[in-house]
């Protein structure tokens, strides 16, 4: 764990001791006080429409404070109910019944019920819909209201992860019949109700008095999120005490923050990863031996050290990360090995290889440097990488998935199936390596409907192994989420690693120290 100060270590050590002895919750959080955070990822185009959310500011404001979803991923990665109390599936994982919480009210007083769930999900459908959650909701063939507090979903194909998908930050629950008004004003069932919202500038919300989460969450009296997209300005705001917490620390100035005794740095390794995907249906990448040669031609540790400045974890060409349930940490680590790379080149019938790698810092910060490091390390194996720097504008439309080999990133997904279905399934729109592997594809389909956890683990381990051995994506590193908090604010020992800022739920989980 990086960035833990001595003070922090003593604190956490002591706290862990207490926990071990008593088994009691770590702390009795103080209620009240104000929490101010300076967050990046804000835009003048922001709104309370969760279908359009894509960056931290709105995710933290909407799902993190004002709105609720059916389910929620806890800080330790487990799934728990939010607006749903419990759920059960038929043995084929095709029909899911959700029991909803009763006695929940929206901020305008309307009672929450089954209709709200159904209508909120239907928002994502329709030909015109640009919702990022459309593929998730489209898989539902029928939504049935069994009673005010029970909804039944029938899926086109079995999906054991369905409750996980319902925790997506795009799928917030709005009041039925007044969704437009709710989007305009921000009316949800969350812990905080909107006081002021100025897109791209700030969001202020106050604690709802009688909330169904009671005193177990939402400890602040008032929260204010200030949009600060500029790195330096964000850091200044924290250093001068104008805000209590900021996301995305600039690694270059991290030492300054560490030197400040009033602050602490939180660092978690999640699923966010940086990749070099190649189109596996285009020569020479269609030859598995070429792909293997490239896997041995990259120095992953050097990438972590130089591109992430140590704030990350070496990747093993599988997108399943430590924030996933079935993360296979025991696979043999791919290392830089010029002899092996040469051997596989030989297997492909080549003595040397000349290829183009298209990069831009739009893919991830440091992608251009990464390409050059790759070029240097692969040269020893007779692989000549020609690094082409592409313009940042239009990178995702003109380069990614168009050029045979490029740089890219994924923020990762909460479940294995979700990640694979997004970027590693045959026919998926973002399958950025045009990956088509019949055996793995059938494993993916089987695992999706498998409710037996042990069996699933085996299936996902095998899929990760296949990607490591044969996949068309070079995944050299997982990038950490690094954020800083003022010591005025206390945060739980376990910080969520699915998203920045404790899964964007700091308003719910943190409190005044």
């Amino acid at each position: 764990m990086y960035g833990l100060s001595r003070r922090g270590l003593m604190k956490s050590g002591a706290a862990a001791g207490v926990l071990g002895l008593t088994g009691m919750p770590l702390r009795a959080a103080t209620m009240g006080g104000k929490f101010t955070a300076g967050l990046s990822g804000a835009n003048t185009s922001d709104s309370w429409d969760s279908r359009t959310h894509s960056d931290l500011f709105m995710i933290a404001s909407a799902q993190g404070a004002v709105f609720d979803s059916l389910t929620e991923v806890a800080a330790d990665g487990s799934l728990r109910g939010e607006l749903a109390e419990s759920w059960e599936a038929t043995s084929d994982a095709k029909t899911w019944t959700f029991n909803l919480r009763s006695g929940v009210n929206f901020h305008n007083g309307k009672a929450f019920g089954a209709d709200d769930v159904i209508e909120s999900l239907q928002m994502h459908l329709g030909e015109e819909s640009k919702s990022a959650a459309k593929p998730i909701v489209e898989a539902i063939t029928e939504m049935k209201k069994l009673s005010e507090t029970q909804v039944q979903f029938t899926l086109a194909a079995g999906n054991a992860d369905f409750p996980y998908l319902m925790s997506d930050y795009h799928i917030c629950i709005y009041p039925a019949g007044m969704i437009e008004e709710a989007i305009e004003k921000g009316i949800g069932t969350g812990l905080y109700s909107v006081v002021a919202f100025d897109p791209g500038v700030r969001m202020v919300a106050k604690r709802v008095a009688d909330h169904y989460k009671g005193d177990t969450a939402g400890f602040f009296e008032e929260i204010e999120y200030i949009a600060i997209n500029d790195n330096t300005a964000r850091m200044n705001a924290l250093m001068t005490g104008q805000v209590d917490a900021i996301n995305r620390i600039d690694f270059k100035t991290e030492a300054l923050l560490k030197a400040n005794p009033a602050l602490r740095i939180q660092e978690v390794t999640g699923n966010q990863h940086y990749i070099f995907p190649m189109l596996t249906d285009v020569a020479p990448f269609s030859d598995v031996n070429v792909r293997k040669a490239l896997k041995y031609g990259i120095n992953r540790q050097e990438m972590v050290d130089k591109i992430l400045q140590g704030h990350g974890m070496v990747g093993n060409d599988s997108p399943i990360g430590p924030a996933n349930q079935y993360f296979n940490a025991d696979m043999e680590q791919l290392e830089l090995d010029a002899d092996k790379a040469k051997y596989y080149l030989g297997q492909a019938g080549l003595t040397s290889l000349d290829i183009d790698l298209s990069v831009s810092n739009a893919a991830f910060e440091g992608a251009v440097d990464g390409g050059q490091l790759y070029q240097a390390s692969a040269a020893n194996a007779g692989i000549n990488i020609n690094v082409i720097q592409e313009p940042a504008d239009g990178y995702w439309s003109n380069v990614w998935m168009k050029k045979p080999w490029c740089a890219s990133y994924w923020s990762g997904r909460a479940t294995e199936d979700w990640m694979f279905a997004t970027a590693y399934e045959k026919g998926a729109p973002w399958n950025d390596s045009n990956w088509d592997h019949p055996h793995r594809q059938s494993l993916l389909i089987d695992a999706r409907a498998e409710l037996d956890s042990d069996k699933r683990r085996g299936q996902y381990y095998e899929m990760q192994q296949i990607l490591r051995d044969e996949g068309g994506v070079i995944l050299p590193m997982f990038a950490n989420n690094v954020q800083a908090v003022n010591n005025r604010i206390s945060s739980p020992e376990t910080i969520g690693n699915l998203w920045q800022m404790d899964n964007a739920r700091m308003a719910e989980r943190w409190s005044v120290a």
């Binding site: 003048t44 185009s45 429409d49 437009e180 239009g394 439309s397």
Partner: protein, 329 residues
């Protein structure tokens, strides 16, 4: 006075033509930028269908000429249009009213004007006073020191001055807040306090120009026979400058002040970003980032109009300050 009115009308007409040309240049330049709103808003998630759907909704699939005249027509009827970002959400919602560009810009513009006024209130008196004093004590240590200080502050980039001020006034000596997140309904005193750091930064940037011009204009006049006469009458040097030299030096000084005021409206982009000041500059940066053309164009036009109007004001004021121009033979 008829003469002045003609000048004003003439200049206004020229101003309108300039605005028209500027609008064309802006439109072409913004459209030359690689990437468009649809691609940028969708980012990595841009599938060809989604891009085409957004482009169609926003009319981005029409020709450049059609779009330009559509926009110009709206402009002339006082309709600045609706920002792409807002339009995009409307189609997502299936109709319903959105926030127009005018509504979006108005509060931001008010904030920028507030910042500009606070800065002008500080900078103009300081600059003119320093200029007069520098002229009075020319070639002394005071004159040299003022020149060096103001010239070095104008030569450094704004963000550098901003960080220097943050370092001294909010990190080392926490007197002023480094974050200028003002909002509607904030008490005036608090608003002023939050605006002070960016205003001081801008003051440092604009003072040198005005101060140097004041000094030069006055020194220039000090060699004239009527000043010699005043001096021979036995007037104090201060009185000679303020009473006799300054009124005749006003025209160039007013010109420079007007130019700098225009700069305060249009050149605040960097300062607003550094201090997270929710003015028009930050809106401009955000909109350029997502290629929200209606907002970018509206901002540019406001900037251009500010320049033209302030220059016009400067011309009129310097005409009025000159009796020879005021009463032509």
């Amino acid at each position: 006075m008829g003469n002045v009115l003609t000048i004003v009308l003439q200049r206004l007409a020229f101003g309108l033509i300039t605005l028209l040309i500027v609008s064309m240049v802006i439109f072409i330049a913004v459209n030359l930028l690689p990437g468009d709103f649809a691609e940028l808003i969708l980012g990595q998630g841009a599938t060809p269908e989604a891009v085409a759907s957004i482009r169609h909704d926003l009319g981005l699939d029409q020709s450049l000429v059609t779009r330009y005249f559509g926009w110009l027509g709206g402009m002339l009827t006082g309709n600045l249009g609706t920002s792409f970002a807002q339009l995009n959400f409307q189609t997502n919602l299936g109709g319903g009213g959105g926030v127009t560009v005018a509504e979006q810009i108005a509060p931001r513009f008010a904030n920028t004007m507030f910042l500009a006024s606070v800065t002008a209130m500080i900078a103009v008196p300081i600059a003119v006073t320093l200029g007069i004093l520098a002229a009075l004590y020319r070639n002394t240590v005071f004159d040299r020191a003022t020149n060096i200080l103001t010239l070095s502050s104008i030569s450094s980039p704004e963000f550098f001055m901003a960080y220097i001020l943050i370092l001294f006034l909010s990190v080392l000596n926490p007197i002023l807040p480094s974050l200028s997140n003002i909002y509607d309904g904030m008490a005036f005193g608090e608003r002023l306090e939050k605006t002070l750091l960016p205003a001081l930064t801008l003051t440092l940037v604009v003072t040198a120009h005005m101060m140097r011009m004041t000094r030069a204009a006055i020194i220039n006049l000090l060699a004239s026979p009527y000043i010699e006469m005043a001096r021979l009458k036995g007037m104090s040097p201060m009185r000679v400058i303020v009473k006799h030299a300054l009124p005749n030096a006003l025209a160039p000084i007013i010109n420079v002040i007007a130019l700098n005021l225009a700069y305060l409206v249009t050149g605040v982009v960097v300062v607003e970003v550094v201090f997270v000041y929710p003015g028009i500059g930050q809106l401009f940066v955000d909109s350029v980032k997502i290629r929200d053309i209606p907002v970018v164009q509206a901002c540019c036009l406001i900037f251009a109009a500010a320049y033209i109007l302030l220059n016009l004001t400067a011309d009129i004021l310097s005409t009025l300050s000159n009796p020879r121009l005021r009463h032509p033979k």
